[in-house]
């Protein structure tokens, strides 16, 4: 705020002059009016933060002025000036919108103190308004985001169901034993499995907001289990997994760590080349640990890397066309890492491979 605009409405010239003299300095501009009508006319043109108003004036009294002022500019802080300070008039003035009053005659410092109180009040009022507006906006944005998310989920759930339905419809005209029939059944299975995975992932995602007690867990053991479990799938695609376990414990949610490692390893295998490799390393770093998952897979460009951790994002290319995925694996991984106050980064080169580097603080 550069300059305060203060309106003084009093039929006594001596009061008006007094206010101008006492208050008119740098950062305060005083506007004077001899009666209510003139005061309102000025207030219409100059928005004033504070108005000093005499109670007893001819034609339009102070209280009536304050009522009109509230209608004109509800933000203006009104102070009653009165030679007849009684409890009744004070209460009435405040009910009608006055914030404070100052009895006549007043000393310069009394006037300054009242004005300072009004300025403070105006500042708080402005802060409250801004906070309220921000909260409104945040609420609107959250509503919109939620609706968009729901629509996205709806779409992701409906698509595979529509596809399976159309295929089944088609199947009515085919022999289940025919080659084409088998193909169609195979695709139905793939899409149905993907849908089941999606439902599970959605559940995971919704559960990741619950804070859970953490224990000291051996992250290396979790990696070893994941390697063992997913190793079967990797072998089918002729992909080798390199992992040398050395015990390393951190404080974390065990289930979440299992999911984190599982998602990253699964991706590294899915998006790899036949005969390719996945390398996992786990080592202490500073007060925490660093887990690196590197694959010799198809990789991805910079544009795709930007959207990598977004929900439902999937790289769409000829190479990835038939790879099943929900688009939630990395969104879940990122959420898990965030919940543990860690960090996750990705580096990738098309045709070469992708590396995910995760840092987790050892003790939260």
């Amino acid at each position: 705020m550069n300059e305060w605009q203060i309106l003084v409405v009093d039929d006594e010239e001596i009061i008006r002059e007094g206010c101008i003299r006492i208050l008119g300095k740098d950062r305060i501009q005083v506007h004077a009016a001899a009666d209510g009508a003139e005061g309102l006319a000025k207030a219409k043109v100059i928005p004033c933060e504070i108005a000093l108003v005499d109670l007893k004036m001819p034609r339009m009294g102070g209280i009536e002025f304050i009522e009109e002022m509230q209608k004109l500019n509800p933000r203006t802080i009104c102070i009653m000036i009165t030679g007849y300070a009684t409890i009744e008039t004070a209460v009435e003035a405040i009910k009608k919108g006055a914030y404070d009053y100052i009895p006549k005659p007043f000393t310069p410092s009394q006037l300054r103190i009242v004005v300072q109180r009004a300025q403070e009040r105006y500042r708080l009022q402005t802060e409250a308004e801004e906070a309220r507006a921000q909260a409104e906006q945040a609420k609107e944005e959250a509503e919109k985001a939620k609706e968009q998310w729901i629509n996205l989920v709806y779409h992701e759930l409906k698509s595979p169901l529509g596809v399976v339905r159309s295929y089944l419809d088609n199947l009515l005209t085919l022999s289940l034993d025919s080659e084409k029939g088998h193909e169609v059944l195979g695709r139905c299975l793939t899409r149905t499995d993907a849908l089941l995975q999606l439902v599970n992932d959605l559940l995971s995602l919704s559960r990741l907001t619950d804070p859970r007690p953490r224990a000291m867990i051996d992250l290396a053991e979790i990696v070893s289990h994941a390697v063992e479990f997913l190793g079967i799938e990797a072998q089918k695609q002729n992909i080798s997994i390199e992992w040398v376990p050395t015990p390393l414990s951190i404080q974390a949610d065990e289930r979440m760590m299992e999911e984190l490692v599982g998602n990253l390893l699964s991706n590294a295998i899915k998006y790899n080349r036949p005969g390719g490799t996945v390398t996992l390393t786990l080592a202490p770093e500073g007060k925490g640990v660093r887990l690196v998952v590197r694959d010799t897979g198809i990789g991805m460009g910079e544009e795709d890397q930007k959207h990598l951790f977004e929900q439902f994002f999937r790289v769409k290319s000829d190479a990835t066309r038939l790879i099943a995925g929900t688009g939630l694996g990395l969104a879940i991984a990122k959420r898990i890492v965030d919940v543990h106050e860690g960090s996750i980064e990705c580096e990738s080169k098309p045709g070469v491979g992708t590396t995910f580097s995760i840092f987790l603080p050892g003790v939260s």
Binding site: Y154, H155, S159, G162, V163, S166, Y167, N170
Partner: protein, 131 residues
Amino acid sequence: MERSKILLVDDDPDLIEINRSILEAEGYEVFASYDIEGAVAIVERARPDLVVLDIMMSRKNDGFTFCYRLKDDPETAGIPILMLSSVAMVTGFNLSLDEDHEWMRADDFLHKPVSAAVLLDRVERLLKRSK
């Protein structure tokens, strides 16, 4: 009689497969593309008689851009476009051809999933109209 050429554009390979079977069984010659770049190339090369297009191709809503592109080019403006999508739910709009025709620039519009009978019927009508 020369077979009518239909271009399918959709990023879901299963939907391409399903619609291709339906249309080929009816005697149409079918071209397909999973993305807009491929679709543009096919339009140039093969000059299809009709395009069946998925609006929600990706988060960027390429479908609309492709539509505008075809309609703005005098050489391709006459190719009828049948739009398929569940985007009505994704963006929260309830798209209807009557209200949104200007904006969508498509010739017809269907919500997925589309049955074989409905697809064939619309395709036939659009081809007849454009001849």
